[in-house]
């Protein structure tokens, strides 16, 4: 029972990270039809922005305070990078999907190479607030505190995005655009302005995911964004491109399956199980869990 509680909470905690990584990717594809392979670069930018910010702030500040500032900086960096990528690289290629893939893959590879050139390929340790490194006893299980934070942040982002989608004009345009982008334009709405905002939001969410993932791993490295991106893609394919609720359900499912398989089968089987889950969903429900509704 104790093990089961531990696995469930750590699984949901991992799923929370996957949701943060996948949410922007899902909405960007759902609305714009852009498969953004540079999303991993956004995550890497967030983790490095956080790491650099924490290092640059006075050591007299508590780690928690510096982490909080780092989160704000990472969000801003992710949003600005997302905005620039949309305006400079994606906008001229909206009707050219192959070129979009090439450009975003190229950007991803280039940014990893640039990070390796500047900070080296080896993982760098990140500071972690004392509380996040500790555990809390729940139902006899010692649960890592950082998972609670991941879950809390992911729930806040999920609710924030739901509120944005359902209670704002931007959200209304996004939901309509996910269904039928051409018809949104045919009603006189400049959907391209929405694209830019969505890319900035997606960049910010990815950067947050990257920063929190570096806290989870205890290090930052250029390859982190890429590995997280693979899980993010699996999550959005299972959950349905453009569906926020589907993405959340799929993220938790992937996190749980991974942790359960790692614990009850053998270490390393978790990754294989996730791919099997993907295959199973595609076989049983080719249109994904939720279809294309945001």
């Amino acid at each position: 029972m104790t093990d089961f509680v531990l696995i469930m909470v750590t699984g949901v905690g991992l799923g929370a990270l996957y949701f943060l990584a996948a949410s922007g990717l899902s909405i960007i594809y759902g609305l714009m039809g852009v498969l953004n392979f540079a999303h991993g670069a956004f995550m890497m930018a967030g983790s490095y922005a956080g790491w650099l910010t924490m290092g640059a702030l006075p050591g007299s500040w508590s780690v928690a305070t510096r982490l909080l500032v780092a989160v704000v900086v990472a969000l801003a960096v992710g949003a600005v990078i997302g905005l620039l990528v949309e305006v400079v690289l994606i906008r001229p290629l909206y009707r050219h999907h192959i070129q979009q893939v090439l450009v975003t893959v190229g950007l991803s590879l280039a940014s990893v190479a640039a990070a390796q050139g500047i900070w080296g390929a080896d993982p760098r340790p990140v500071e972690k607030p004392e509380w996040m490194g500790g555990t809390t006893l729940v139902l006899g299980a010692r649960l890592p505190n950082d998972r609670f934070l991941f879950i809390l942040v992911a729930v806040a982002v999920f609710l924030g995005l739901l509120a944005l989608l359902h209670y704002t004009r931007l959200g209304l345009i996004i939901r309509a655009g996910v269904e039928n982008r051409t018809m949104v334009e045919a009603l006189g709405i400049n959907v391209h302005r929405t694209f830019t905002v969505v890319f900035a939001l997606g960049g910010a969410a990815a950067a947050l995911a990257g920063l929190l993932y570096s806290q989870y791993a205890g290090t930052v490295s250029p390859a982190q964004g890429g590995s997280l991106l693979i899980y993010a893609f699996i999550v959005v394919v299972i959950g349905g491109m453009g569906s926020l609720v589907g993405t959340a359900v799929a993220a938790v499912a992937v996190g749980l399956v991974q942790q359960l398989a790692n614990f009850y089968a053998a270490s390393g089987v978790g990754d294989l199980s996730v791919v099997l889950l993907l295959a199973l969903v595609l076989l049983l429900r080719p249109s994904s869990l939720k279809g294309a509704h945001a």
Partner: protein
């Protein structure tokens, strides 16, 4: 028998008395190697209903899409004296064109109210025009548009373009797939709207064309092959058979 509304209101000028609201000149559309529209030119008068007719696949829907920039085109499109062919679609719409697409294309995951507020955040099912022309929608504001019947979806599709003041409406086969009663309801709405706003209507239903259209433009193989009065065309069985492949006797009465 109740008197059905006609498109032109009493005292309105005839189409020939005022200049065109929309001019399409030498419009070409190519999809890959296919030359779909081959120099289409016509005017839409500032009043009444202009029906764009033709057999299936001659380019009627493509013409409407090309006018608002949803099809790759060349040529000249003039709205109230201003050339709009180089503008992006949203700006063309905002310049004063309302577009009701074939197959409604309502946003099925959005409620009826949200479908309307997408056009104008301040106007939903409580807008006066909705209550006047589409009373059935008023109580369905919170219903997802995807769960509506075809006729109700058509009303949503029409209502959302009428929330904004437009110079001309492009309406593509609004009665397609609808039951006869609903066809009459849609025709009533279009006739009412046409009293104040000119309409370019793509329609296969000849009795409906006879009832609400003033002028017709007939396309064949991507070119205009006939222009004239709606009543004259529909009354000429040989001409309708020659141009459209149908006659009023086979089409019945709306």
């Amino acid at each position: 028998m109740t008197e059905q509304p006609t498109a032109r209101g009493p005292g309105s000028p005839s189409p020939s008395e005022v200049g065109p609201v929309l001019t399409v000149a030498d419009l070409h559309v190519r999809y890959g190697g296919s030359h779909v529209l081959q120099g289409v030119s016509f005017d839409v008068p500032a009043t009444g209903v202009t029906a764009l007719l033709g057999r299936n696949g001659v380019g009627k829907t493509t013409t409407l899409k090309a006018i608002i920039g949803l099809a790759p085109r060349s040529g000249r499109i003039v709205l109230r004296g201003k050339e709009i062919q180089d503008e992006p679609t949203p700006r063309i719409i905002r310049a004063g064109i309302g577009y009701v697409p074939e197959d409604r294309e309502v946003f099925g995951g959005l409620t009826v109210d949200e479908n309307l507020r997408l056009v104008d955040p301040d106007l939903g099912v409580d807008a006066p025009i909705v209550g006047r022309l589409f009373p059935d929608l008023v109580a369905r504001g919170r219903q997802r548009a995807g769960t509506l019947s075809g006729g109700q979806q058509q009303m949503v599709s029409l209502a959302r373009v009428l929330l904004r003041t437009t110079s001309v409406l492009l309406v593509d086969e609004p009665t397609k797939g609808l039951a006869p009663k609903l066809v009459t309801e849609v025709a009533d709405v279009l006739a009412e709207v046409a009293r104040t706003t000119p309409i370019l209507l793509v329609e296969q239903n000849l009795p409906l064309v006879r009832r609400i259209a003033d002028t017709v433009v007939v396309l064949d193989a991507g070119q205009v092959v006939h222009r004239g009065g709606a009543a004259e065309l529909v009354a000429d069985a040989d001409l309708t058979r020659e141009l459209l492949g149908v006659s009023m006797r086979r089409e019945g009465v709306a």
